[in-house]
């Protein structure tokens, strides 16, 4: 299987005044198509920084990042925005849906920015909502949905543009254990359909759903079950 993600010697150094802080100290790993990877580690271990780099929200200080065959580096903010739009799907801990906006329009959002015409947009958004088991809730606003349902809308939004990778940052962090289980089952089902998922979590039982676990400590990878 081909690599969807390939990180080579990635480091990220934050400069605050005359102090330097290295959040990532040269990490390398590959993720192949169809993998389900959990990134673990205590807070401050560098896993969130790694996620930001993977999500093209942050640019590494040094190292090489290959995403779906494209070198991410030296790109303009517009190019990065397009990469996020077409190749990545984000699922956040706090769901991050637009308030006072129907579920279906939340799911349509990435398609608006990639210029998909309205009719196709609507049909693809409805299909994505069906995939996450939310048919019939498309008109509901986030405030009319439970936490689990809101996270499903967010997952549908991540899926709708058929990205190369789904990046989930503590997707169960705001959910109770039974809802967490539902969401993880959904991730597993999606993964079985061939969707690559990278998930950050600090809960071992959530990480257990993933096929591969990478553990961070002090900006370095300390274990990889690959």
């Amino acid at each position: 299987m081909s690599s969807v993600i390939s990180l080579t010697d990635i480091s990220r150094v934050f400069v605050m005044g005359d102090q330097q802080f290295a959040a990532l100290k040269g990490i390398s790993f590959d993720v192949t198509q169809g993998e389900f990877v959990a990134i673990m580690g205590a807070s401050g271990s560098g896993k969130s920084t790694c996620m930001n780099v993977l999500g093209c929200l942050d640019i590494p200080t040094s190292g090489r990042y290959l995403l779906d065959g494209v070198v991410v580096g030296g790109m303009s903010t517009n190019q990065l925005a397009d990469i996020r739009n077409r190749k990545l799907g984000f699922v956040f801990q706090g769901f991050n849906l637009l308030a006072r906006t129907p579920a279906v329009e939340n799911v349509e959002l990435p398609l608006i920015y990639s210029g998909v015409p309205p009719k196709e947009r609507r049909s693809r958004a409805l299909a994505a909502l069906e995939m996450v088991g939310l048919s019939g809730k498309e008109k509901n606003h986030p405030s009319q949905l439970s936490g689990g349902q809101q996270q499903r809308v967010a997952i549908a939004r991540a899926l709708v543009n058929s990205p190369a990778v789904i990046l989930a940052d503590e997707p169960t962090g705001n959910l109770d254990s039974s809802t967490s289980e539902e969401i993880m089952t959904l991730f597993t089902t999606l993964n079985r359909q061939g969707i690559t998922i990278i998930m950050v979590t600090h809960e071992p039982d959530v990480a257990a759903y993933a096929g591969r676990r990478i553990t961070f400590k002090d900006g370095l990878i300390v274990s990889d079950t690959h």
């Binding site: 517009n78 739009n85 991050n96």
Partner: protein
Amino acid sequence: MDFIQTLKIALRALRTNKMRSFLTMLGIIIGIAAVIAMMAVGAGARHVISQQIASIGSNIILVLPGSTTSGGLRTGSGGAQTLTSDDGKAIMAECPSVDMAAPTVRSSGLIVYGNMNWSTVIMGTTPEMFAIREWGVDNGRSIEQQDVDSAAKVCLLGQTVAENLFGSADPIGKIIRIKKVPFTVIGLLDRKGQSPQGQDQDDAVFVPLRTAQRNLVRAHKPNLVGAIMVKAKSEELLGKAEEEVNALLKQRHRITNGKEPDYSTRNLSEILAVAEQSSKAMSLLLGVVASISLIVGGIGIMNIMLVSVTERTREIGIRMAIGARRNDILLQFLTEAVLLTMIGGITGILLGAVGATVVSNLLSWPTLISVESISIAFFFSAVIGIFFGFYPARKAASLNPIDALRYE
């Protein structure tokens, strides 16, 4: 991202905070309404002035007799009786830039019909005067050259005089007495309204020049006139016509160089130009006040947009993470600001139009709302939106997506 989608997002954002959106717009609404109302009132005033110009006739020069000195006292303009009917004829015949000239004599006195009487202005004149002043008859006929030549005892009534003597009855063909002399009413003049000085121009009765000289005005020479009204061929020739009249009269009256002429000329259009200028200055002043209120309104918009950007930092972060380019975010907030000012602008235009109508009805002051003023107001409201919306929009677009997503 397409424009319709941007517009939809902006409209939704404005709907979310209806009260705030309305209050933000209020500054623009008041500013634009003030601009529209001010321009309507100003245009109305200018319209009145141009009507008054038309009512005395355009391109007119007035020739008045000069002053005389008797026993060391100077009598002031018109004190001397130096102009004659022949001067009028000569001006018309010999000055190439002059279109027409009408000598007039003026008197005042009592006119009587049956048991009704009325004191008014009596003007003796030639048919040219009605052409110069562009004054037609409402009913009957005007004074003709034949009436002047034969010194016919006929008269034309102004509307005010007719109302006071005849009420609603038809005055044509009736005999009235002007200073005890019987005259036949041959016509009723159109309503002319107020002169720029506020005099009722319809409160007058007109008789042929020679009739007035013979029967109504006491003078030491039979063909003296009180004034000569001269019309230049065009506005451009007004100055030239005045020079020609001066040159001719100096020659006819034997005024050598250095001597004070026994007549004076006055250019009526100049007086009106001053009046028009003062109304323009007034408009300008009001315009400045209105612009200040628009700027204040614009600052209000900028302020609220900045608050809105801060409040919606997380939304901006989500949009960026999902693939919005910086320009998409910039355009979204700019559209919102422009939408605010445009809606405010349209409301202001309507409010200003209503305000102008109320003013014109309440104060019987004419107002005129032009397409020009509406388009200027509309254009300005859009410009204010772009100008004051740009800074907040750029602030939104330059947010770092990681920080924006983490913003609580």
